[in-house]
Amino acid sequence: MNGVHDMGGQQGFGPVLIEEAKPLFHADWESRAMAMTVAMGASGQWNIDLSRSARESLPPDIYLSSSYYEIWVRALEKLMLERHMVTAAELETGHMITPPVNVSKVLTRDSVDAALKAGSPTERPIDQPALFKVGQKVRALNMRPQGHTRLPRYVRGHVGTIVSLHGGHVMPDQHTLRALPPFQVRVEWLYTVVFEGPTLWGSDSDPTLEVTVDAWQSYLEAAD
């Protein structure tokens, strides 16, 4: 989706504001929201790409005017509403009215450390040989998928060079096609691709600038 979240190269957002004090959270609710979002990931009712997609598909005015963790809360509520895990009336009142759905796991105090330490690797075995090799010129496809994607708009249609290969990784666009488990998993080669600044931004770009993105194989075509 050509969403408002795809911010690379947009102009007009002003200076980067750096805080003197560096609190991790600016209110108690922010820490609870962060941790609940992490904990609810264990429910297995969605995956990381569905979770990102839920944030990115919030209405643009809401996305831009919400604080970071407010976006997380809104997306978490949306994910649970879509899956009938909660109802709007329950969110409004904060009290259970309908019975819970079955979830795959509930984190306890004792299981948190192991879950965080393990994470959720996205690398998977892949049989097919990689289509591209280091040093090869590739073009990022000019595309506008209706659903979730991780190819930023600012590189689409431009030619870059393969910097490295990362093995097979779960392809995010496919991973969001089914809302509930079992999720659709397609494994593709993942590459880092570097683009020259002037290629992306025009002749008055900083000539010393290079930008890399991590791109799945189906985002790319040979440009040799």
Binding site: H5, M7, G8, G9, Q11, F13, V16, L17, L24, H26, A27, W29, R32, A33, M34, A35, A39, M40, S43, R55, L64, S65, S67, Y68, Y69, V73, R74, V86, L91, E92, G94, M96, V106, L107, V112, D113, A115, L116, K117, A118, G119, P121, T122, E123, P152, Y154, S164, H166, H169, L190, T192, L200, D206, T208, L209, E210, V211, T212, V213, D214
Partner: protein, 205 residues
């Protein structure tokens, strides 16, 4: 839940009312999810405790200090950062696939996530507000020198800037240049020199 409809011309009021409104909303959410049995509040406490007190930039600083002090470790870090970093016990969520980027006189590396807020949690903890801001996400890839100026950082014109946009599950850790005059320092003392921002690429040491 419907969106709220504050007057956006009054940002201060907006922020203030958002906080209290969010406080109520998140409390209701936690109560509900607990009643439903989806979460255990003690697990929520433990997750917060982890990122408030245990996992943070001091982890990444240890990695950097070891790489500065031990050439073999540095070579391993640059070749297989996930394994090298795991050898210090830093693994897991949002750091499953690590790559280390060495700053040199020829190339300065800087990390961003233009699409969201991808950040290497096991070595740097949770991202600072500026890293998640629209200003940083939009500008880092188009005018990084101006962004660096916001941080008070100026690089020679001869230094190439490579900005790494974290668009997949690969997470990047910048290995800053070792400051001169630190040859005889212990790894503990070296680690104390390494700032979070230097490991993102928005500060020099």
């Amino acid at each position: 839940m419907s969106g709220h409809s504050h007057d956006h011309d009054h940002h201060h009021d907006h922020d203030h009312s958002t906080l209290s409104e969010m406080d109520v909303r998140v409390r209701a959410l936690e109560t509900l999810l607990t009643q439903k049995g989806y979460i255990d509040p003690a697990a929520i406490d433990r997750i917060i405790e982890t990122y408030e007190t245990e996992v943070g930039p001091h982890n990444g600083a240890q990695v950097v200090a070891k790489a500065w002090a031990e050439p073999d470790f540095k070579a391993w870090l640059l070749q297989d950062a996930t394994a090298a970093i795991a050898s210090l016990g830093f693994t897991g969520r949002q750091g499953e696939h690590m790559v280390a980027l060495e700053n040199t006189p020829e190339q300065h590396n800087m990390v961003v996530c233009t699409l969201c807020s991808c950040y290497p949690w096991p070595v740097l903890g949770l991202p600072p507000v500026w890293y998640k801001s629209a200003a940083y996400r939009s500008r880092a890839v188009i005018e990084p020198r101006k962004v660096l100026a916001d941080f008070g950082v100026s690089l020679p014109e001869s230094t190439r800037i490579r900005v790494w946009d974290s668009t997949a599950e690969v997470r990047y850790l910048v290995l800053p240049k070792r400051p001169p005059g630190t040859e005889h320092m212990s790894q503990t003392a070296l680690a104390a020199l390494v700032s979070r921002d230097a490991m993102i690429g928005t500060a020099l040491l």
